[in-house]
Symmetry: C2
Subunit: 425 residues, 2 copies
């Protein structure tokens, strides 16, 4: 006997009871995506490491699991879906009808310190619309995220979609005196604001050489109301961002989901590739990390060798979502579904039990039989342990008159049934 | 614009039309496994490389994609499921009710020369029963493979399950004069026989130092009929193997699947961990590699640090299966399913179209709307291109009387419908 080998830290084993929960999450994701007319796609799990270079921001690159294959090529286990998606769109850009509406439910790896809400192996739903510059597309992908959260049973009291626009934020930062070459770094600090004490937030901006007056302006960004922003104080980019946001919110009203959405200028999103709309789904208690996040990335496909192709999308991870579902008691009771267990009173009658089981399976019932050559009482006990709804007992006496016993496992009620009637059960 | 980065050789992109086919295969797999009472499970995609050392045979170890993580630990992208399964069973052996009946549908990587039926990234259904030594368990897993093939529409003319037993084969080899220390290597040569010219087969055995008389006996193994084997010529292990096979075939008769099953002594299966039953699913034309393969592995869980736990199971890959489905014309026409496209005659009416779409989605219809600010005629053309079944047109005139146009896209017939009636559609 070898010593037990342990699984990698930050990964999970999915025993059947865990896999049922994962499948429930996947089914809600899939149903919501299909409801809005998105189509499922997928790509390879390992891709050339170049696919992520300079596209995803330094943080993700550092977190990648990279190997060298026998041909000497460096491959990464994918840490996110968007580069694969951009590659696939670039490859067939001209032949694909627009808009391209794709989703995927897949596994990813990132080397992170495992902690609450963060694992090294996790799953994401990715939903993306490519080929449309219209805020109609942004509104729709946001609407899918709300549809998902509502499908899980969450109310407007429990979650919020925080929405902003990179163009507006950049313009507001410029208005606050931030130089163009500092925008990116300041955005990253703003992104971390919620996790930092205010003194630390100020310190980080100060370290970037941001003057005190600018810091004071940025500090008040969380108080900015969309309807109070005066276009006169904005440059052209800011005016465009503001009007995009106004249009987006008018569509969110049409979707009937305004109550779940809120404007939040302090939402920056770390990834460099976002160009306009950015949004994140949060629990309102702010106990957890973001449940989902995404935005508009109008330059990304061109970076992957394709034509210029606007895009908007997001990812929702399984780890934080499951924590939140548990916390709010929203996970349904999920049991194995066995419609029948067919038992026999002796090994001689086992073939008859198998025959009956096969007939029931042809009629799309989930059926189990004994596999352990157990006594009848042990078969019944096992049938009960796997939650079989009904039990059929094949015994000598009943069989001689073409019958078997049929027991409802819940009520315990039992009756004799003709085998010929099982065909109509 | 960067140059196009290409995906790794031996992998596939799954555009929606490809993913629909993959999902169809997965659904048939899943439905069949559930029909027999198996429960879905999963484990991490990367595991410590030690998990495969000395367990899976040298070939698989050579084919693994291995990386060193930032903690200096060697991890492999899993090339097969069984070691993970054995690890998970070993971890919870005592608390898991027996038999343990698990299945998984997952992605694997092996470094192989990409060729027809072999890719570097592929999917497998794995079905395993652990905790039972009875041939009842072997019969059931074989029955699931037949159920799958029949669900795909294949007949007994098109596929065969070839079945043998390692104990019987070992005993027959000993009877043919093969020394104990040569059994393993001879089995590997036998396994390759179908792919080799006879002269090469003889040569390989001869190279192993097998005497001519033994080679002549082994050459005739493909003619051996189960009912003709005389137990008197066998040692104890052979007698056990023979009786296991006889019992197995009696159960296969009870499952009503004898017509799909055939005894074939030349089936050895390369993997060292098989101890009794071995089987493979083949197309009868023998044009393709094996569609599925598996067997009994009674010592494997103990090797992973668990108690001794008998097991039997198999894997069915997606690559050969899909080739076979295509070849026999068994793939159904799979289209995106869009129940409604809701168009509007102007941007002003778009919110109304969205509102109607949302109501239909609440009633579980798959609904698409315009995302491109297109003219009505272009919206209709797009609706047609995505195969929308019905079209709703929101126009000024109809809307003023609380109505919209409803068009059946197939027949082209159109009628006016009250918006209030859409709630009951």
């Amino acid at each position: 006997m070898s010593p037990q080998i342990e699984r990698v830290r930050g990964t999970r084993d999915f025993y059947p009871e865990d896999k049922r929960i994962q499948n429930y999450i996947f089914e809600v994701w899939r149903a919501s995506a299909l409801r809005f007319g998105f189509e499922e796609m997928d790509g390879p799990l390992l891709e050339p490491v170049e696919l992520w270079k300079e596209k995803s921001g330094d943080e993700i690159e550092e977190q990648m699991y990279v190997l060298t294959d026998r041909g000497g090529r460096k491959l990464a286990v994918r840490p996110e879906m968007t580069p694969t998606l951009a590659r696939m769109v670039a490859q067939r850009f001209r032949e694909l009808p627009k808009p391209i509406k794709w989703f995927s439910i897949q596994r990813f790896w990132r080397y992170e310190k495992p902690q609450s809400g963060r694992l090294r192996e996790f799953w994401q739903l990715n939903i993306d619309t490519l080929g449309s510059e219209s805020m109609m597309a942004d509104a729709e992908v946001i609407a899918t995220s709300v549809h998902i959260m509502r499908s899980f049973g969450f109310s407007a009291d429990e979650f919020t979609v925080r929405i902003s626009n990179r163009r507006l934020l950049n313009s507001m930062l410029r208005a606050a005196g931030i130089q163009e070459d500092k925008l990116r770094e300041v955005c990253r600090v703003i992104d971390k604001r919620e996790k930092l004490p205010n003194s630390e937030f100020r310190h980080m901006l100060s370290e970037l050489g941001i003057p005190e007056r600018s810091i004071e302006s940025i500090e008040k960004f969380d108080l900015v109301k969309l309807e109070k922003i005066d276009a006169k104080n904005l440059d052209a980019e800011g005016i465009r961002g503001l009007s995009e946001l106004q249009e987006l919110f008018s569509y969110l009203r049409a979707y009937g989901i305004l109550e779940y959405c809120t404007f939040d200028l302090t939402l920056a999103r770390g990834l460099d590739y976002y160009t306009g709309t950015v949004f994140e789904v949060f629990d309102t208690s702010k106990e957890f990390r973001a449940i989902a996040g995404g935005g508009r990335y109008d330059n990304l496909v061109a970076q992957f060798g394709g034509d210029k192709c606007p895009g908007v999308g997001y990812a929702m991870g399984d780890v934080v979502l499951e924590l939140f579902l548990r916390k709010r008691g929203k996970l349904p009771q999920l049991r194995q579904q066995i419609d029948f267990f067919v038992a026999s009173t002796s090994k001689e009658l086992y073939p008859k039990a198998v025959e009956i089981a096969q007939k029931l399976r042809e009629r799309n019932y989930n059926v189990a039989v004994d596999l352990m050559e157990r006594s009848l009482s042990k078969q019944v006990k096992y049938a009960d342990s796997i939650g079989a709804a009904r039990l059929i007992i094949v015994g000598e006496e009943e069989l001689s008159s073409g019958c078997a016993k049929l027991r409802d496992m819940k009520s315990g009620s039992e009756k004799k049934i003709k085998l010929s009637e099982l065909e109509k059960i």
